[in-house]
Amino acid sequence: MGEFKVHRVRFFDFMPSGIRCMAFNSKADRLALARLDGSVEIFNFSNNYFQEKVIPGNDSRSIEAICWVGCDRLFTAGLNGEVVEYDLERLCPKYTLDAFGGPIWTAACNSEETHFAFGCEDGSVKLFEILPDKIQFERNLDRQKGRILSLSWHKSGTLIAAGSLDVIRVFDVKSGHSVQRILVDRGPAGTRNKDCVVWNVAFLSDYTIVSGDSAGKVQLWDANKGTLIKTHLVSKWDVLSLSVSENEDSIVAGTSEGTVVQFQLLSPKIGDTETQWVRTRTFKHHTHDVRAVTETRTAVVSGGLDTQLVICPLMDKVEVKSSESVLRKVIFPHRSLVSCAKKPSLLLFQFPDQLELWRLGGTDTIGKPGESLPVTRKPEKLLQLKRKGDDHICCSTISECGHWIAYSTVSSIRLYQLQCDNNNISITKVSKLPKVLRSAHQLQFSADSSKLFVASEQATIHVISVSRSECKHVHTFKPKSGSSAPVHLLAASADGQWLTSANRHCEINVYNLKKLKHHCMVPVYNSLPSAMAIHPETNNLLVTHADQQMFEFGIVDKQYTDWSRKLQKEGLHRCRLKWGTPVTHITFNPQAPSQVILHDMHMFCIIDQSLPLDGLKAQFYSQLTPKDTSETDKPRKNNALKICNKYQPLLHVNLLEDDWLVVVERPLIDIHSQLPAPVRQKKFGT
């Protein structure tokens, strides 16, 4: 029963982009993160660090600074000299504004959130006033020689510290004059002829300025007197990022060596009221430059060129044994980049700049479990489809029959018809798309490939009928609640009657496609759905959420099923809680309708709904040693949860016809091999 032939695919060479900068919004408990390719991601820290929103990148956009204003306004500034505010509903830039100061290296917002300061290439610091729906240029501070690389407002809003080459200046905001000029000494002898780049400054409320520079120093200065208080040499290379905790008792600094160093304000003696900054902890979770670092209430968050976001808990600040106490690494997006056409065994891979279509290989032989079969037919790359324009691809899909491919950027949707007879592949773009289609957050074909469902940027869902002759707009579903939250998941039933959509307000709407009307809404659960699917026979909707919970909702009955209630009562296996990453795909086994296959980054599992759920007491059996099972262990076969963690990290798992599974792996070592060489470090014994 549990025997599968597995296509083990490793040729999806997906390469995440390096992390450039990030900003944590403690009021919303969300982290905004900008990558080198210009994309922006928002992580919801209160929702199991789920990657809530992704704003696709753009070739012309290069982000150097990212800033929150309030809870829901996000700004970036970059080397193209533009300031961008984003529409977090439609997930696209709202407007862009040229600061006219050349490339912008840094941006900072004052504590009242009334003004922005931008540091530019030409040495000017530009002040912008923040208005409810836009920002507006106010004035320049005195222009200085040398580009401004870092900026920090004092809490009072009257002073700004600006880091430049070899110098830190303090500006009086009112007058615009430089009131203090602090010279930063260059590195050790031998590097004296190289400028000391002040990559970061932080203005503390006690008029202390903290700086991090290219000589590897973290220095504390008295802003009033312009004198050095303390120097900490933390690296042989650059200190690239600096962050001060909200209550100003902790500073973290990221270096080129991949380390993150923490400083804490402590009193040297117990009972002493006098405090000083002491270097306390060093974290080493990165191999490359740590370009961005920030501190939340309970964790140090860091990211850099090695593309992973690391959330490292500060164990003295977390309550023990909660999900916060686990070190998390976010490497892959929390959504599926792979679509699968089951019948012709095609895989569609989504890259930011292109799509790849592959046909899976095959074998003639039959083998026993544990064996590797000889590949008689090699996998084939059928198509490589480059996107048009500067905008990166945000979603893509392939129809079940393999004849249709659709993808969308923030500016356009494209639909292609694919003809594939024997070895000839021909692709034709469907030229006349209905006018209503502008951009999509999610695309999905119906099971019979006759309809395309488009989750639009206006939170509506367009139903388009596709055929060889023409594409016609059939209907547009609007959410009953009137919510404008973007839809990020779509699921259609196999019989073509039901369509469900999940949006970022955790609402799941069910629409009747036959009657073209809203059917019902699934009770709102306070965690974002990470994957959902409709059972092909029972038409029950299975939803997994970012917090690892799973629900089954009977669409016809408009209520949770008995199995779902039992699951909530008894709980699936406790090992599920250890999953650090959300479930990104759910599928069903047509041969055994009771089997559900779902996967996250580290494992995939089969849940048999017909078998009794094992409670928390049941022992966890690993699938790694299947040969140990003897006849006496038969009862164990009745385990409802079967886990396979042989393949990882997983990007996609799907069930093809005739007991064929396809798993798409992306080994981390392949990603590391594509990264540039890290800075040279002396290792002991080398």
Partner: protein
Amino acid sequence: MAELYEGFTLCGLAAGQSRENSGLLGIEPGRDTDHVIVTGAGRTVTVYKVSDQKPLGSWAAKQGQAVTCPAVLHGQTGEYVAVHDSKVLRIWRDEDINFEKVFKATLSAAVSRIHALPSSEPLVLFQRGAVRQLDALLAAPQQAVEEVLSEEEVIRWSSCFLEAEQPLLLFSTEKSGECFLYLQKLSPNVLHKYNIGSEGKGVCPIGFTATLENKCITLMCLYSNGCVYKLLVSLHPSAEGEQHLPKSLLMKLPVSEGVLHRAAIACLEEGHIAIVGAPPSASTGDRDFLCIWNTNFQTLQASKELPGGAYGQLWCNAGKLYVTHGKMLTVLPYRCEKSSLAAALGKLKQTSTQEVTSSPSVLNWNSFPHEEAALEQKTGMRTRRSKLNLKSQATLATSITQVLEDIKGVSREEVEEVLEPFLSCSPVSPQFQLGLAHIAVELLKRCQADPGFYPQSVLARLAQTGRLSHSSCPGFLMLALEKHDYFLAQLCLQHFPDIPEAVTCAFLKAFLSVADADLMQVSVDLEGVSLVDGPGQSLEVVQNGFSPVLLEEDSCDVQLTPPKLDQSSSWTDMSLTCPVGLKKSALLNEIIRSSYSESFLLPHLKDLSAQQVILFLQYLQYLYVRSSGDVYTQLPGLRAPTMTQIMDWVSLLLDAHFAVLVMAPEAKELLAQLHRFVRSQVRLYSELGKIQGTLQELSKIKKEQEIGLYSIEVIELF
């Protein structure tokens, strides 16, 4: 197998040489193995450093003079000695530059050759056959030199040896087709003359080489018809006057036209000879080759073509062959390994020194009748030479019966006298082996009949030949035991291949019970115990500054019985003193090394007394600690017992006497130590077993990591 390595050119040959004459007079060893003295036929003497292919010094005689004999190095003074114009002796040192100004002595007669010996005065061989030591000659250069050789007798070849600090000179002469061999001994000045006999018309010896082994000179002689003969020249010839020297055919080279002109032979080690000028097979045509042949199997081992034609000059020095050909002198390093049939068949015997000296049970494949038959088949006619061989065999048989007759009823000294020459040249043949056994049996009979008669040295010589066995002369061993001749007993244990377990046990018993004081006078071969200390001497094993805390020093035991540590009964303290004397341990080592079968040995072992068993166990324990403390499992010394042998004996002794040992109070400590040791060993091995599992898992993991970009697998989920 033997092989020739890639050679190199040492120097070019002087211009003006002809096809017959290479222009090189000779090559002699220099001050160490890397130096040679090359003497040109003209006027030059050059010293080369071979590995650098570089001349270190060169001297030349004046125009009009000619160096007539190869220069040699006087080993004791470091001076070079050469002769020019046949009569003028020159002696000089490295630092002398001008050859004209060096020491000069004019002799009264023409010199044929000077032979240098490493630790003796050089010998000067005059052309008329007289021999003088150099110092004697220098004292009176103009002294009269007698004429030994007859008219028209010419010295063809000469060589010298050192036997028991006495220099010997062997040279061959030729007179109208007949060949003679002279063996000149100095002090007392004795000259022996042998007639080698010729091989028929036109066939003459063209190359000689000789080695000294076992007090017997083996001369190999290459004839122009391609035959290599072996002649055994005894150092103690029995008869005076000219003797006929029997020769045996060693091998026949495949000579195409039947006659060799320019060829030379050099004896390498272990039955290998190098021959230059003879082709490796009959079909090689006109080209010249240097070949290494195995004389035991008559097989060609290595060959090398010499471009430009050879001159028939070949020297062998320190593992390198020097051969002149074309316009150069080439140096070819070589290597010989002992060939055996077993090696050829793929079952290489373990080469330990003992096996080399004694292999009585191995049949000699080179025996005469076999070879004879092969030759006859090949040639279809019985040559005179083969008849001669038969004759020599017949003489051997007669000599054995003669010897047997001679030793009957004579005194011990006379027996020694009779047997000495017989034993000194020991031909390899079954007859000889049988003869030895006959002699041994005869002597045994006499010893048993007459208690006063005990020819110890002869018996020892007989045992040392390595051709006796227990089965061929039963009682030999027991005689040694009766006479308390521990030296002979040791020899027998070393050389006899088939000692019964009962006898081994009797020996063991005797060795264990003999007092160390009694052994003081006995001479025993101490090779096996070269580094074992005497009783009471403690030894400190320090390797790289690390004194091994023995494996047996188990940490658990220390924790369990901490007070025991300061008692002297600790395993380490005890074991580092040898419980028996040096000579006794040498004898016991022979017992431990002897071969036995457990089931036969066990009943005899029970005869030992408890004291003997304890002593022997203590000794074995000592040996074990010695060898286990070392990195090597073999104790230093050639005939030291191996770890396995020691452990086998410990087990055997414990098996045979366990009940007795348990009851004996004095054995308690010993048994406790052995037990503790075994327990620690068991623990060690169980730990190793655990590691084995882990390592196996590791190797499994590695296999799984070879996954390409795409693969199809079958999995089963339970």
